[in-house]
């Protein structure tokens, strides 16, 4: 068996999963399953939310250790799904190691949805969250309009390759100004509080916070604390954005 390829396959699988937002313990689990295919006496993987260390030793081979730093993360459940089924196929002997390696590389290139579909979904998210929070028909409509603004803004910010924290703040600012302007000029009875909260839902780190506590429950304290920090930072970015937006609007209103 080609141990080097096995190691690379395991690390690539782990890297894709970690980047795509899988839980830390699940990444370790998958990597260990793949590494144990070698049936050497020592195969360990250590995963934290910002990187992977894996080592394989035993027999007459020199130990192999790989360190992989993972910088950017973006939830992509399709990739988690693909890696899961590839590693299952590999471990049950349905595909060879080389095939698994090729399929993993293929997975990274797949584009699941076109950008315009995601943008339309963004409008759907803001509208349906406002509905879920108890908004009336007009609030939902207003949220859809502000959601379209948000989607356009995120798209433009993505094009400009803005830093993600800055992008979140700017988007939250746009949401606040957009919602207040909508109430001021078009629909005075708008529940701005509901609409703003519905519209910042795509930005806000509720899931990150919950996953952080889940990591901690599973004993991954390092990842858990890192994710809590991340969640607080994002929440602060959103709150600063909305706060600045509201102040800015009132200040401009005062001038006009």
């Amino acid at each position: 068996m080609d141990y080097k390829l096995l190691m690379n396959t395991a690390v690539l699988a782990g890297e894709i999963m970690l980047k795509s937002g899988a839980e830390t313990y699940r990444v370790e689990d998958t990597m260990n399953h793949i590494l144990h295919l070698a049936s050497l006496h020592s195969a360990e993987s250590f995963v934290v939310s910002t990187g992977i260390i894996a080592t394989l030793s035993g027999g007459e081979n020199k130990p192999i250790t790989v360190v992989k730093r993972v910088n950017e993360r973006e939830t992509n459940l399709n990739r988690v799904y693909r890696v899961n089924s590839i590693s299952r196929d590999l471990c049950e002997g349905r595909i060879s190691l080389q095939e698994a390696w090729d399929q993993l590389n293929e997975t990274q290139k797949q584009l699941q949805y076109r950008p315009w579909m995601v943008n339309i979904a963004m409008v759907g998210i803001t509208a349906s969250f406002t509905l879920l929070l108890g908004g009336n028909g007009w609030d939902v409509f207003g949220a859809a309009v502000v959601g379209a603004l948000l989607a356009a803004f995120m798209y433009a910010a993505g094009r400009a390759e803005l830093n993600s924290i800055l992008k979140t703040t700017a988007a939250a600012l746009a949401v606040a100004v957009g919602t207040l302007a909508l109430r001021q000029f078009i629909w005075p009875a708008l529940n701005t509080d509901l609409v703003i909260i519905g519209c910042i839902m795509p930005l806000v780190p509720g899931m990150a916070f919950t996953n952080a506590l889940r990591d901690i429950l599973y004993g991954d304290y390092t990842s858990g604390c890192a994710r809590i920090m991340e969640a607080i930072l994002i929440a602060a970015a959103v709150a600063v954005g909305v706060g600045c937006g509201i102040s800015l609007f009132h200040w401009l209103g005062g001038v006009m």
């Binding site: 795509s20 937002g21 899988a22 839980e23 699940r26 939830t75 992509n76 459940l77 399709n78 990739r79 988690v80 799904y81 899961n84 089924s85 699941q112 949805y113 579909m117 995601v118 979904a121 963004m122 759907g124 998210i125 509208a127 349906s128 969250f129 406002t130 509905l131 879920l132 929070l133 108890g134 909260i197 910042i200 839902m201 795509p202 806000v204 780190p205 509720g206 899931m207 916070f209 919950t210 952080a212 506590l213 889940r214 901690i216 429950l217 599973y218 969640a231 607080i232 929440a235 602060a236 959103v238 709150a239 600063v240 909305v242 706060g243």
Partner: protein, 139 residues
């Protein structure tokens, strides 16, 4: 209430796209989210605390996700993450930091504790159901 449950369905459904859920599972994610939110609203209506409502609806969502995952042979996360999204304390954590900036300390700590309660309840619920399914699998 029906409108809110429909809202939850579409919230989970639409959120599945930026989360890149495989296309064939979008409806399953929507159903998981809607059922969870229905349970949440029903428990709140009986006059129980938000903590209890979050816990039990997270249990139901986790059960649904595990059943879908077993039947459709895919990882639990695919259904769990979109399903939990309506429930997750995004608004509370935002409000907590927002009032902190506004220099309203007591409101800020109120929402911070609400965030911790909801997120903790969800995490424990998911952990419990995970453990339960693992026990069943071993036997």
């Amino acid at each position: 209430m029906a409108a809110q449950v429909i809202g939850a369905f579409f919230a989970s459904f639409c959120f599945s796209l930026p989360l890149r859920v495989p296309g064939k599972y979008l409806a399953h994610c929507g159903i998981t989210g809607a059922v969870g939110w229905l349970v949440y609203l029903l428990i709140l209506e009986r006059g129980f605390a938000v903590l209890m409502a979050a816990f039990f609806s997270a249990v139901v969502i986790a059960l649904f996700s595990h059943v879908f995952a077993r039947v459709l042979k895919s990882p639990v996360t695919v259904f769990l993450v979109p399903g939990l999204l309506p429930l997750v304390p995004g608004a509370s954590i935002y409000r907590s930091v927002y009032y902190l900036i506004q220099n309203q300390g007591s409101l800020s700590s109120y929402y911070l504790s609400e965030t911790l309660q909801i997120a903790g309840a969800i995490a424990v619920a998911v952990f419990l159901v995970d453990t339960l399914f693992r026990l069943v699998k071993k036997k």
